[in-house]
């Protein structure tokens, strides 16, 4: 049996066992904060998407080039990426038990979240400033 089933992703003895509980608490807190932030942001996101529907390149580019929708998408991405990273982490904690696979899955989750987050943020900023 595994020694620690923490949401922090510690699989063996490092980081020290004591930090596991604290890290999990911090993640639970971040989950709550991002959930609440995502209530208005997700509604805003859907509104922005609805405005983009059916638009050609020039019109869609102009729409997302405005400050308000761009800022809304950026905030949605920030909260959403943190939220989904912690969510997937808890799924991995529940279902992936072999230490090696768990480490790989947790690392893959972090990489995926950071790459998607960075790519989307870069794209929105580029649309805004070009």
């Amino acid at each position: 049996m595994l020694k620690s089933g923490s949401a922090s992703g510690s699989v063996q003895t490092h980081p020290p066992a004591q930090s596991a509980a604290k890290a999990a608490t911090a993640d639970a807190w971040r989950m709550r904060v991002t959930s609440i932030a995502l209530v208005p942001l997700a509604i805003g996101f859907v509104c922005v998407i609805l405005k983009l529907i059916g638009k050609d390149y020039a019109a869609a580019h102009a729409e997302l080039g405005h400050t308000a929708p761009a800022l809304l998408i950026l905030l949605f991405l920030l909260a959403g990426i943190i939220h989904m990273k912690i969510g997937m982490q808890s799924i991995i904690d529940d279902y992936v038990h072999a230490a090696r696979w768990k480490e790989a899955a947790l690392m893959g989750n972090l990489f995926f979240s950071v790459v998607i987050g960075m790519a989307c943020v870069y794209a929105v900023l580029k649309i805004s400033f070009t």
């Binding site: 995502l38 209530v39 390149y57 869609a60 580019h61 959403g80 989904m84 799924i91 790519a119 989307c120």
Partner: protein, 137 residues
């Protein structure tokens, strides 16, 4: 002695086990808990589509045309339909968790109503938004 052999598999086999998913009567609250996780994972994968759209829009007209073509296709529309339902279902599931976090909604009829509201509300919001997308805009 005619007793049960406790050591040759007897006890281990007759030992009471906690009910597992396969033999547990499906309940609304349980189904919605599972659905919350599945829709969350689906949205995780769905960010790839959002990233594609945004990167294409940032890259230029040709890349955008490819992404837009896919999103307009039957498969693309089907994925978008699933993505939007997952978003609304997970959104309402999250609101349900906030109600619980605040200390409410644990009583017997209430938790069933909340689970049902998540299911019906998610489908309803999806239908409304797609009607707006198709008939109003």
């Amino acid at each position: 002695m005619a007793g049960v052999d406790l050591y040759q598999g007897g006890l281990a086999q007759r030992r009471p086990l906690s009910p597992h998913l396969q033999i547990y009567r499906p309940m609304m609250t349980m189904m919605m808990s599972i659905a919350h996780r599945i829709t969350g994972a689906a949205l995780y994968a769905g960010t790839l589509l959002l990233a594609w759209y945004l990167i294409a829009l940032a890259s230029g007209p040709e890349a955008f045309e490819t992404a837009a073509w896919f999103l307009r296709s039957f498969i693309g529309q089907l994925i978008l339909l699933g993505f939007s339902w997952a978003l609304f279902h997970h959104f309402l599931g999250g609101l349900r968790h906030m109600v619980w976090d605040a200390g409410y909604g644990f009583t017997h009829p209430m938790r069933e109503y909340l689970a049902l509201a998540t299911l019906i509300g998610g489908l309803l919001l999806t239908a409304i938004v797609w009607c707006i997308a198709y008939f109003v805009l």
